[in-house]
């Protein structure tokens, strides 16, 4: 019974934890501009993250080593350090976006300017990272994030023309008035939103924090293979809500308030209250994940003690890195740079950094020295190889497309 509960909780956490500020903004933005014509990019991203999160979870369970531990080992100190710098930059950018997201969500709930919420959010994040148990931190944020299911309810209440939505999704093409470069630019943003590298840093490090062993591989797989696709469905619901309510009114999404409007239209105040709760929980949870991931990646590269399973003073430099990153992230938002813009850039740079994370995972998951009999099977390798190629293409195309389309304008 306890085991069933554990698995169920893990799945719920994975669903609620899947969506972050990047998914919220990217899906709503794309839904309002392209309808569901880019649903395939989200689906592709979800398959990719399932595939590689499973591998990283399995590696962590079998070897006790988290992702960045292995990056240096397989790429060497030089390339590993370059990788660390790039990954840290992207994760830090995402961290800033999440902190901004918390503040924006609280602004919607209070109409107090979001900049005033930034220090509050920063302090709350630090207190949680400093004092709250890892499993509590992970599960509470994830389960509260489930409030975003309200987007699914809203979609159903909006009585959309389902056949038209399905039609858009299955015969993808760029709508009239939108060029192909813009179309693919946003495809990459959605792909990057689903596959953000911090998710595997966090997932694999979390496995080590919770002291997974080979026995826990089944649990980890359930979380990934059930939780993430349901989280992806949530992303699609957000996109569809925007497609149904915002697209006909020619509204383009550039604020979090616009993301929630379809829920208000469909369900009124109570529904919107759930949506705001979901925004706060999803961004707060993701801020914790990205903040910890900054510390995880640095500490794992240098071999320092890391993690919340020891007292903070026993992982001093890890805690220091997290704290410094938190200050930098909050400081970035306080420069009054638009958090939604930061989010959009974080998605594109995530896409650029994807191969740095996913290549070493694929290699280690095949290393009999580490994995013994638990190496990848044929299917995982076939899909892994295909995705590696897709990731490489997305990574190379991201910056040129961003410049060519002036970041999607």
């Amino acid at each position: 019974m306890k085991r069933v509960f554990g698995v169920a909780l893990g799945i719920l956490t994975a669903i609620g934890g899947f969506v972050d500020i990047g998914d919220l903004v990217a899906n709503s933005l794309v839904g309002a501009r392209f309808g569901l014509a880019l649903a395939w990019a989200t689906v592709l991203g979800v398959i990719g993250i399932c595939l590689f999160a499973e591998m990283s979870g399995r590696v962590a369970a079998v070897s006790g080593r988290a992702t960045f531990d292995l990056v240096r080992e397989r790429l060497g100190p030089r390339v590993g350090l370059a990788n660390l710098a790039a990954s840290l930059l992207v994760t830090l950018l995402t961290f800033s976006a999440e902190v901004g997201g918390i503040a924006l969500a609280l602004e919607l709930a209070s109409s107090v300017n979001y900049l005033l919420w930034v220090p509050v959010a920063g302090l709350a994040l630090w207190l949680v990272i400093w004092r709250v148990k890892f499993s509590v931190l992970e599960n509470v944020a994830g389960v509260l994030g489930l409030a975003l299911v309200v987007f699914g309810v809203a979609l159903w209440q909006l009585h959309p023309d389902w056949s038209q939505l399905v039609q858009q999704a299955v015969s993808p093409r760029n709508p009239p008035g939108e060029g192909l470069p813009t179309y693919f630019y946003y495809a990459i943003a959605l792909f990057g939103a689903a596959m953000t590298p911090y998710e595997v840093f966090f997932f694999s490090s979390g496995g080590v924090e919770e002291r997974w062993s080979a026995k826990d591989i089944v649990t980890s797989r359930m979380n990934v293979f059930v939780g993430f696709p349901l989280g992806g469905l949530l992303s699609l619901a957000i996109a569809a809500c925007a497609a149904v309510v915002l697209m006909p009114r020619q509204i383009t999404v550039d604020t979090l308030g616009q993301v929630g409007l379809p829920v208000a239209v469909a369900l009124g105040k109570l529904g919107l209250a759930f949506a705001i709760l979901g925004f706060v929980a999803a961004t707060f949870g993701a801020a914790l994940e990205t903040g910890l991931s900054c510390g995880y990646s640095v500490a794992q590269y240098f071999g320092w003690q890391w993690g919340k399973y020891v007292r903070p003073r026993d992982a001093a430099r890890f805690q220091l890195v997290v704290l410094v990153c938190l200050v930098v992230a909050a400081g970035t938002v306080l420069t009054t740079i638009d958090p939604i813009t930061v989010t959009e850039y974080s998605l594109v740079f995530s896409a650029v950094a994807l191969p740095l994370t996913y290549l070493p995972i694929l290699v280690i998951a095949n290393d009999p020295d580490y994995m013994g009999a638990r190496v990848n099977g044929r299917v995982a390798n076939l899909l892994g190889t295909v995705f590696l190629v897709i990731i490489l293409v997305a990574s190379l195309a991201a910056i040129p497309l961003m410049l060519a389309t002036r970041a999607g304008q």
Partner: protein
């Protein structure tokens, strides 16, 4: 007969102390010639004075020089863990001493004493 490839199987691996706490990475490996003239592994070398030269380039040189100057006493010999302390090599390298006994990483202690340890609640596990 077991063979071990140093580059592939030892360098950059995580070192764990006798309690399973994380100590450092294998930043480099020290070898000495035995009486028969064949070199054998004598120690794990730790810290920027070991990893800096491997990093190479301007950054590597700068890091090595900085660590050299900050060290007590100054010098180019990095902290080392004698290879006799190693009890197992798997996805990590296990040694039979505690982090405090090994004392290969003075900076960690400094941050603990002067920054993190001073914040309230630093002694409670999450």
């Amino acid at each position: 007969m077991t063979t071990v490839d140093i580059h592939l199987q030892l360098l950059d691996r995580q070192v764990l102390d006798r309690n399973g706490l994380l100590v450092c990475k294998v930043d480099d490996i020290e070898l000495h010639e035995g009486p028969d003239g064949v070199p054998f592994v004598t120690a794990i070398l730790v810290g920027p004075r070991a990893s800096g030269p491997r990093l190479g380039g301007r950054l590597g040189r700068w890091l090595t020089a900085l660590a050299w100057r900050l060290a007590e006493p100054p010098g180019d010999a990095p902290p080392r863990i004698p290879f006799g302390r190693v009890t197992a090599v798997h996805s990590a390298v296990d040694v039979d001493r505690t982090r405090a006994e090994l004392a290969v990483d003075p900076l960690e202690g400094w941050v603990e004493r002067h920054v993190i340890g001073r914040l309230p609640g630093s002694g409670h596990a999450g």
